[in-house]
Amino acid sequence: MSEMNFNDAVMTTRLDAVVNWGRKNSLWPMPFGVACCAIEFMSMMASKYDLSRFGAEAMRFSPRQSDMMLVLGTITNKMAPVLRTIYAQMAEPKWVISVGVCASSGGMYRTYSTLQGIDRVIPVDVYVPGCPPRPESMIYGVMKLQEKIEKESLSMRKDHIERFYESLDRQEALQAAKGLTGQQAIREMMFDAADRGVGTIF
């Protein structure tokens, strides 16, 4: 935070700093809990490790009422369109923490049915490795996200979110044109992206 103390009587800060301070200290998590990492999340929210002292008291399971999505667990290829829809329905400002190795890279599941990392289908801000990560690791991940938020500015362009919505439109167009399910459309988009040498579909 950029502050100037006039004899400790007056404190001035930039608007960005104030807004970011507010945002980073009131991150309401939306737990996208699908597997074992969700148990560690429960442990983190409980009294011993207590994420609510970071302002994350209000754990909302609705994308419309939260600003930080924690993807907790293995995302299969069939679940990928659901994850994208939920991320699309979150209101900005929004951030994603990919908790655990299954969400970050597919984890120990290198198979045809597991999405090899959610950053192939959604933009991710912080990755927390572990199988499952200890609650302290997850708290460290949230703290890293707070540091990232501090450095943002109000006029910062969030291109990755724009590109995500474009890719969602493309996915739906593909589904409508060829009569595919979400999983099949995403699979085709992934192969297209791989042909271009790009690691994500957005």
Partner: protein, 162 residues
């Protein structure tokens, strides 16, 4: 117990057997499978616990379709393996065991073994047009995933994977 019974009632059916720490396994040929199932059902092995398969690609009869039965009265379990070649159809047990329906669909989906007499032999876990059979040994581990870790950039973060 049951294996001796099979030997006396249907001699020559059991081509191979082994036991390990209380497990009993017998290998039978496809031709003698149905009479064996009738015998097992009469003897009380009325709970079909599982049907699955194993792929041995070097063998001529590539697949081993594996059945597990439980005798609820005597608490005895039996594993029956039936070697089947690629393209050869196995006999369906859906007439007698309702659970065989989805088990056989799963084996068809994962290995490609067809079951004669099955009322609805469609894929179960993958979608209808899925290319290939995932649990065969020659199916790529990640399903033909074209991504690799080197050479692919993340377009945001200015291309850094950081």
């Amino acid at each position: 117990m049951i294996i001796e019974h099979i030997d006396t009632q249907l001699p020559g059916t059991v081509t191979d057997r082994h036991a390990f720490r209380g497990d009993q396994t017998i290998v039978v040929a496809k031709d003698s499978f149905l009479p064996l199932v009738d015998l097992l059902y009469r003897e009380g092995f009325q709970l079909l616990v599982d049907i699955t398969a194993v792929d041995w690609p070097e063998r001529e009869q590539r697949f081993d379709v594996v059945y597990h039965w439980l005798n609820l009265a005597s608490q005895e379990r039996l594993r029956v393996k039936v070697p089947v070649a690629d393209g050869e159809a196995m006999l369906s047990l859906t007439g007698r065991f309702k659970t065989a329906d989805w088990f056989e669909r799963e084996v068809f989906d994962m290995f490609g073994v067809r079951f004669e007499g099955h009322p609805n032999l469609k894929r179960l876990l993958t979608w209808d047009d899925f290319p290939g059979h995932p649990l065969r040994k020659d199916f790529p581990l990640d399903g033909g995933d074209a991504f690799c870790m080197e050479g692919c950039t993340a377009p945001y973060n200015n291309g850094e994977r950081g």
